[in-house]
């Protein structure tokens, strides 16, 4: 995928929907691209030092203690909880297909969110949706 295509792809994701073109260019340069072969883990439950990932292409499984809890794909992100709480990830994320991701090192996430409030707002929306789904049993 060409750099320009990465910018276009990121632009189509809800998380980055409010960013201007130069801001997207900066994001495309700030995040680094990773390719994960099918079956390999992207983040590992209990291992520290992981980053913030956005899936650009492919599908992955979120596995907690050996049990699949969710499937995620293009435009979905993970790793933020571990960084925000400064704790190791509570799940494995395993590539179900060959996976292309962009990743931001953990040290860079906090200042990026503080300086890019529109992304923080979108991130909050996504997390609110997850929280709503997780607590749906109460109704």
């Amino acid at each position: 995928m060409e750099r320009g295509d990465i910018v276009e792809t990121l632009a189509s994701f809800a998380l980055f929907a409010d960013l201007s073109r130069p801001e997207l260019e900066a994001v495309a340069h700030m995040f680094e691209e990773e390719f994960v072969p099918v079956g390999k883990r992207v983040v590992r439950q209990g291992f520290g030092g992981t980053g913030f990932y956005v899936i650009v292409e492919g599908e992955a499984s979120v596995v907690v203690d050996g049990t699949e809890r969710a499937k995620i794909g293009r435009g979905d992100f993970f790793g933020e909880i571990s960084i925000l709480l400064d704790e190791p990830p509570t799940a494995d994320v395993i590539a179900l297909t060959a996976l292309r991701c962009v990743v931001l090192p953990r040290a860079a996430l906090a200042s990026w969110l503080i300086h890019t409030p529109t992304v923080s707002y979108r991130l909050l929306q996504a997390m609110a949706r997850r929280l709503r789904n997780a607590t749906a049993w109460r109704n």
Binding site: P22, E25, P37, V38, K40, G48, A98
Partner: protein
């Protein structure tokens, strides 16, 4: 057609290695030590790879410490000599410092090249030079390579061609810019305004070299510059190129800007570059005399993508498994700087050093063993060791092993339970393979640098299906064999090698 003279004539070979840079030479050396027959082909006329041409400003960014705390030529010395290839015999070790004149901590390009030539000569690495790889196809269980000398058939292909083909991003007017590789002699820039696209090492290298010549220097790329001493990583602007950055910070004649360049135009006297600010938004226009794209390189994969080899990073690197094999075309492996495409754990965002000699020389040794075991029936290395020695050996490795120091969170030393109350040393293994694969109960030790910059051993223990992470304490003087380390590791290891009851 008459076959040109030289080693490895066209025909059938078990393994073909392409490339005579440090990656190809180190792989050939390691394969030979394991008795794996192979041919080495190179389009060049002499060993050395990219060091025959780069860096532009002639001095490397990787250190070789002539006066080190340990004796030159020992394994522990490799940590202080990032540039020599590694040998099993004393005569093949630490060859770069032999040729250095001692005036710098960093070898000159010619000193590096001479070190590589010396390694090829003393270790008698045979290469078929002047043999250009042109195309590739799959026939039955063989790869068939068409070269300028004829066709080669092989079971295993190792591509060690470097990441050395100039790469530029798509942008209006980019063809007006010279690439880093086309930079002229410094005095050609005397009194000129020079715009540099890119704020990675190659951009800062040019800026540093042109500082005494250029009238004004502007470095621009969308994201802020990363500085090695702040990111704890070699994959950032290195300390030795930071003078232009200091000029920028102190208001000298150099600008280091966060801006996305959008268009380059030719003007009557030079060039006009349009850019949009990122960290500080706004339109920027620069009138300059020269534009240089320090935008990096790509791997010249010839037709491998058409054969199905998956790539990433704008097609600049092949995707790889932890053992540097193409996941989409098994049997094709990569060596040398291309191995940076096997990302590994990249803890705290710090990549491996696989892009540089001091990292990939160890990958080559692991790769050769993997090829020997998986394709040619060479028995795996399994040195029995007394379980009571495991703690001492692991801590000794954490303190001194150059593989662990140079490839942090990437390569690990592994000791495995043998199932009958004993332990075996499995040697050096890619960490991501260890933590993501099944196997006997085992322990792996590596080093890592965390977000605060603390360097400490990280231990991974596999018991049954689960692999757990345990971090040992850091140490001011980087000694990891203290009583505290011993006590903690003993506790982590408890019961690992005990015989399983039937």
């Amino acid at each position: 057609m008459a076959t040109a003279p030289g080693p490895f004539p066209p025909g059938d070979h078990d393994v073909v290695v392409i490339g005579s840079g440090p990656g190809g030479l180190q792989t050939s050396y390691a394969l030979r030590q394991l008795g794996v027959a192979h041919a080495v082909l190179s389009a060049d006329t002499e060993p050395g790879g990219m060091f025959r041409r780069y860096p532009i400003f002639q001095r490397l960014v990787t250190w070789t410490k002539i006066h080190a705390p340990v004796e030159r030529g020992t394994r522990a010395y490799e940590r202080y000599d990032w540039n020599s290839l590694i040998g099993d015999e004393p005569a093949h070790r630490a060859l770069v410092p032999e040729g250095m004149d001692g005036t710098s901590y960093f070898p000159a390009r010619a000193e590096m090249e001479a070190g590589l030539v010396a390694f090829a000569e003393r270790a008698a690495i045979e290469v078929r030079y002047d043999c250009r790889w042109e195309s590739t196809r799959h026939e039955d269980d063989r790869f068939v390579l068409t070269t300028s000398d004829g066709e080669y058939r092989c079971k295993v292909l190792v591509v060690a061609v470097g990441m050395n083909e100039p790469w530029v991003p798509t942008m209006e007017g980019i063809e007006l810019a010279a690439h880093y590789a086309q930079t002229s002699r410094p005095k050609e820039y005397a009194g000129k305004r020079v715009f540099l696209l890119g704020k990675q090492n190659s951009g800062f290298e040019l800026a540093d070299g042109l500082l005494p010549w250029a009238k004004q220097l502007i470095l621009a790329s969308p994201r802020p510059a990363r500085i090695s001493v702040l990111t704890h990583s070699t994959a950032a602007a290195r300390a030795r190129y930071l003078q232009p950055y200091e000029d920028h910070v102190l208001g000298g004649g150099c600008f280091v800007l966060d801006a996305a360049p959008e268009k380059i135009e030719k003007t009557a006297t030079g060039y006009r570059v349009h850019a949009k600010g990122t960290t500080r938004p706004g339109d920027l226009v620069f009138e300059v005399d020269e534009v240089i794209a320090a935008t990096g390189f790509r791997t010249p994969l010839v037709d491998l993508p058409e054969l199905g080899v998956a790539t990433f990073y704008s097609g600049r690197l092949p995707a790889q498994t932890p053992f540097w094999e193409s996941p989409s075309v098994p049997g094709i492996y990569f060596a040398g700087s291309v191995t940076q495409g096997a990302i590994g754990l990249k803890k705290y965002g710090i990549p491996s050093n696989s892009a540089a000699v001091h990292g990939f020389r160890y990958n080559a040794r692991v790769l050769a063993r993997h090829i020997a075991e998986h394709h040619f029936g060479v028995p795996p290395m399994r040195e029995p060791i007394a379980p009571s020695d495991a703690v001492g050996q692991l801590l000794e490795a954490a303190t001194n092993a150059p593989e662990l120091w140079n490839q942090q969170s990437y390569l690990a030393r592994v000791i495995e339970a043998d199932g009958s109350g004993g332990a075996v040393d499995v040697g050096i293994v890619p960490l991501s393979h260890f933590v993501d694969s099944d196997g006997a109960d085992a322990i792996a030790v590596t080093l890592e640098t965390d977000a605060t910059g603390d360097i400490h051993p990280a231990v991974y223990v596999r018991r049954g299906d689960a692999v757990g992470e345990h971090l040992l304490p850091g140490d001011t003087l980087l000694r990891f064999d203290t009583g505290e380390h011993r006590a903690q590791l003993t506790s982590v290891l408890h019961g690992l090698f005990e015989k399983e009851l039937p």
